[in-house]
């Protein structure tokens, strides 16, 4: 059973799943495959995908990051406040990305130097960052940001009919794919998740690899937050609640092992597309929101069951 061809088919599993989803939904409703809906779909997928790319690095090192939704909210609130007080909006996006990087790096430092399990460390920072957001915003949304067209375009605009959030997503994908598959940092990320002991003996600076993964994830969460803020033209204190679970689901659907060391970012992109397609398709098919959650859960479960024999 474990012939080379078989392994190949298994690797393609998520992609086959996505294609089948596309076929089913488009057969049931013809507006699904319309170009305008595919654009709409890409715009919706981009936020979860960008967060999930970072989550892939973290999970490859054998960790987890529950704080992404809170980092998204805190950096968005910070960015919105900067804009409201007169900072150039494009500069504010960069500063927010930097803030996300710092918040993520704090996760990494607590986990490595503090020797706290990633689940616990990021559970704590998830609560702290969310609380900080509520303190910072006094629980109110920050709205009426700016009329700056470039800032609006970041979440709402298109270039050559392709949504800018989707372009941001593809750019991030290409850069991160390159880091993961073509650089020593990428190889070290796999090595650390595969076996910390062996990595240590091989002279890899494990802590640095881990801090990089969490800092990267924080920065990507902040970029996703900037897209949401631009799209809604306001920063919500409750933004991003539960987004960590969608990101983890995308990574797992893409075939990356939660144990670390095995998987790839290509799968994560497909995983995010599967979740986005389910959200969009089930809405278009007018499936009750209660059933939608059941279906999403079942699809994740099926993907993991199908993946089980890989290890």
């Amino acid at each position: 059973m474990d012939s080379k061809a078989m392994q190949y088919v298994r690797k393609l599993g998520p992609l086959i799943g996505l294609i089948i989803l596309f076929i089913i939904i488009s057969v049931m409703n013809d507006s699904f495959l319309e170009f305008s809906n595919l654009r709409n779909l890409l715009r919706q997928v981009s936020i979860n995908a960008i967060i999930a790319f970072g989550m892939t690095f973290v999970i490859l090192t054998g960790g987890i990051d529950l704080s992404v939704g809170s980092i998204l909210a805190l950096s968005s609130a910070f960015m919105a406040q900067l804009i409201v007080t007169g900072t150039n909006p494009e500069l504010a996006i960069l500063i927010a990305a930097g803030a996300g990087l710092v918040l993520g790096a704090i996760n990494g430092l607590v986990i490595t130097y503090g020797r706290v399990a990633p689940f616990i460390a990021t559970l704590a920072t998830m609560t702290i960052y969310r609380g900080a957001t509520l303190v910072f915003t006094d629980g109110n949304p920050i709205s009426g940001l700016t009329q700056d067209p470039l800032f609006h375009a970041f979440g709402q605009g298109d270039i050559a009919n392709i949504p800018i959030p989707a372009i941001t997503m593809f750019l991030a994908f290409i850069i991160l794919w390159f880091i993961l598959s073509r650089t020593s940092l990428g190889r070290k990320t796999y090595a650390v998740g595969g076996s910390e002991k062996v990595s240590y003996i091989a002279g890899i600076k494990i802590d640095r690899v881990k801090v990089f993964a969490y800092a990267l994830t924080g920065m990507l969460a902040a970029i996703a937050g900037a897209i949401i803020t631009s799209r809604l033209n306001s920063a919500q204190p409750t933004a991003g609640t539960g987004y960590e679970l969608d990101a983890i689901a995308a990574v797992v659907l893409g075939g990356t092992s939660l144990a670390g060391g095995r998987g790839h970012i290509v799968g994560t992109l497909i995983g995010a597309l599967i979740i986005g397609t389910l959200n969009n398709g089930l809405n278009i098919l007018d499936v009750s929101s209660f059933y939608q959650q059941v279906v999403k859960g079942i699809v994740i479960l099926l993907a993991v069951l199908a993946d089980r024999k890989k290890a």
Binding site: M28, P141, R231, T238, N280, N283, S288
Partner: protein
Amino acid sequence: MKKLLSFLAMAILVIGLVAGCGKSADSGDQKSGTIGFSVSTQNNPFFVSLKNGIEEQAKALGLKVKIVDAQNDPAKQANDISDLLESGVSVLIINPVDSAAISTSVEMANGKNIPVITVDRSADKGTVVAHIASDNVKGGEMAAQLIVDKVGNAAKVGELEGIPGASATRERGQGFHNVADQALTVVSKQSADFDRTKGLNVATNMLQANPDMQAIFAHNDEMALGAIQAAKSAGKDIFIVGFDGTADAEKAVQDGTLAATIAQQPELMGKIAMDTAKKVIGGETVEANIPVDLKVVTK
């Protein structure tokens, strides 16, 4: 290979089954006269009743309605609404999660010439053909009238106001004073920010300063429930009237601790939204602001 195939087969089955549970069987006529409804959450009984009102009235009118649930996430609501617009609805009913964040979605619908109706919460920007919400002014009048009827003319009343400047505070207060300024004696009026703990503290101070106070009108149930505690610890029997008709308040009315609550009617709100949507589809002009009646809940 077997495993993979069985996984795929199961996936198809599940999606097929669940999609079958939806109302997509007759997707052929979806572009004509379908109404899209984006609800803020289904985790709160108020909005479940709102959705039920919409669904039942759609059935009664023979209209098709697509319902999406934002789960209190404004970003998900933006996605939901673009999905509805893609699937070709002819009217959009929105119950916004947040008045500021919904504006870009309303403007998007405006760009596609799809009429928008907002329910319960309004949109800060964008063009809306109708906004449907409780008639807070009339509710305030009803509360004052109830106190006149039950406690008596010129009764000494305290007023617990909501967050200063909020529309509910302004309208409920205005309605209350329409009647109270002639028929009652308002001895004290202070803000307690719609909050139960603040309601307790402010009402305690009021009762301390005005020992002969006979009734309290609170702009929402939370503050009224706080005022009940204040009256209890002051050892006084005060006629307290709340506003909203929350489950806690209706229970307090049954227990006899709360005299009355002016209840909102989310189901009726949904019904009226659907009626309005039908008029919009038929090309009739509709009122920009449609108030929904409230009802007095007493024991």
